[in-house]
């Protein structure tokens, strides 16, 4: 069973890792993003993720479903944090288990790359000098909506 969440609650990496694993799996790949103390050389005191939460949940579920198909494993879990975060806090965590390691690595990498491309969340950095800025991001590709 895949699992996803977009949440204001701090992410517990070990709990995400425990969402995956099955007796036929030989490999677990895990990734997490953490808040750095600087961006492009500028000291950061913390940041804030704004998100279109309902859409982000739907997009994350879609990304994880695609990853599960590629990995031939439904043991894929991903969670993205929203709200204010301090240095060292976890912004995103992804876990995949699969029979073989290439599948697990590639699926975990796919999920983080797709999150960066299309999850509707935005990051405002707070700098040590008191300024803040919304970070430049990726323009999501528009899919043709089909029947509406």
């Amino acid at each position: 069973m895949t699992w996803t969440d977009v949440t204001y609650v701090p992410i517990q990496p070990a709990a995400v890792l425990e969402r995956v694993g099955a007796s036929e799996d030989g490999a677990v790949a895990f990734f997490m993003g953490i808040v750095r103390n600087a961006n492009e050389g500028r000291p950061v005191s913390g940041l804030e993720y704004d998100g279109y939460r309902r859409m982000a949940k739907a997009q994350l579920s879609a990304i994880v479903a695609e990853a599960a198909e590629r990995a031939e494993s439904d043991r894929v879990a991903a969670v993205h944090r929203l709200g204010p975060l301090g240095i060292g806090e976890v912004s995103v965590a992804i876990a995949v288990s699969a029979p073989h390691r290439a599948q697990a690595f590639e699926a975990a990498r796919f999920v983080i790359e797709e999150i960066k491309k299309r999850l509707p969340v935005w990051k405002r950095e707070h700098y040590l000098d008191g300024e803040t800025a919304w970070l430049d991001g990726h323009v999501p590709a528009t899919e043709r909506g089909g029947v509406r």
């Binding site: 993003g33 993720y49 704004d50 998100g51 279109y52 309902r54 859409m55 982000a56 739907a58 993205h80 912004s91 995103v92 983080i112 999150i115 960066k116 491309k117 299309r118 999850l119 509707p120 969340v121 935005w122 990051k123 405002r124 919304w134 970070l135 430049d136 991001g137 990726h138 323009v139 999501p140 590709a141 528009t142 899919e143 043709r144 909506g145 509406r148």
Partner: protein
């Protein structure tokens, strides 16, 4: 017909509001909605020329036709992860 427009991050700051209800003629498209928004002046006029849009929580093209009650979100370049 009325559609709800949601704004996020820098867009929200430009517009000064997280959401607004906009009245449009029947069969208006996303692009027509964007023109109407820019026509409101002030911060709205400063919305980027090219802006991504989601209709009912799915990314949508500018020629997507809207219907009464649609939830239209302006999506600034995303920066998750």
């Amino acid at each position: 017909m009325d559609v709800t427009v949601l704004l996020f991050a820098g867009h929200r700051e430009l517009a000064g509001t997280p959401s607004i209800v906009v009245s449009l003629p029947q069969r208006a498209t996303v692009d027509m909605l964007l023109s109407a928004l820019r026509g409101r002046g002030e911060g709205w006029a400063a919305l980027p020329r090219s802006v991504s849009v989601a209709v009912n929580r799915e990314y949508a093209d500018g020629d997507t036709v809207l219907v009464e009650g649609d939830e239209v979100a302006l999506i600034p370049p995303v920066a998750g992860g």
